[in-house]
Symmetry: C2
Subunit: 214 residues, 2 copies
Amino acid sequence: MLVLHDFLDSGNGYKVRLTLAHLGIPYRLVEQDILTGATRTAGFLKKNPNGRIPTLELEDGTCLAESNAITYYLARDTRLWPQDKLEQAQTLQWMFFEQYSHEPYIAVLRAWKHVGFGVTPERLARVPELEKRGYAALDVMESHLKGRRCFVGERFGLADIALYAYTHVAEEGGFELARYPAIRGWLAGVAAQPGHVPITFRPPVGKTGPAAAE
Amino acid sequence: MLVLHDFLDSGNGYKVRLTLAHLGIPYRLVEQDILTGATRTAGFLKKNPNGRIPTLELEDGTCLAESNAITYYLARDTRLWPQDKLEQAQTLQWMFFEQYSHEPYIAVLRAWKHVGFGVTPERLARVPELEKRGYAALDVMESHLKGRRCFVGERFGLADIALYAYTHVAEEGGFELARYPAIRGWLAGVAAQPGHVPITFRPPVGKTGPAAAE
């Protein structure tokens, strides 16, 4: 069975848990407390030398890192990954946008303010810059989502999962979503997808398969 | 013909130019001066609302952004993208590693010190942190490359292109590569690939196809 090393508050981990739930893939969750350095131990660094969750351990022991690479591995041959080459590249475009222009601001402010990393004086000085860049990412999303139900083509897929993960909890980092009606409509649409689970979802121990997502 | 909006000093843009050269794909280069805000004009924001190069304009006017999504689009059906699903996911893992754990430190210090963005007092205060994180990325790469010729499997591909772009000019940002023999061996191997071009490569105007890479 697949083993997912993860931390429940992580939006990056949630992308993988949400993909697994949508696809009804059984797995075992091993929680790693990133607040106390669990991913920087010698044992964990053998699984992922970059010392981060989520890390997916395959049945033969091979470990795969980077949330968006893991969801690709799980979903390439499913309805969550488009067939058309341009739509595949557009999906990746939004996944890279998420990791470069969105997560370092929206997720990081949430990690400092909400998850428990804390706002040190040095971090406090960087808050205005991170807010500015986080709102710039939300502006790009709002503009793209006007008149659309999902990020790429007509079908819910990995780009939506990648961007939903930290956007739906952006207010925990201090971002105000009231001014973004298109984003709020899209968030509601993602949450209404059959098979959706919340960020705090843990697979029931001893249960596997599609039922685990219910 | 494809149109690539790019800035020659950009390693992100170089990933795309290097992929185009390896594949012998003709294109027209339109240089955008990011130092004077050329990618933040109303005209450019219609092509890429995130205001960044590289942006690839397809023959029908569709624009694709994010360097690693563009190289996927160009190379999916070629020798630069592996056939095996796990190797595809491992390629993406290294491409996301590059954008999240490598570029924001190694490319950013080079942009400040070498490309012309400048080291303001506020930036100067952040240099030690960026150096620490950049060296952490180089440590992960060194450890992975020991005994390997390329990042994924046995064949040069998109993961190598993604990581070569800013690693081969890391010293321009102040990173010392002498302590990384495996990285230096791999850099030499990438530069020795048939079809390789340097970061300053411009396609000759009026010439197209494989000859443009010579």
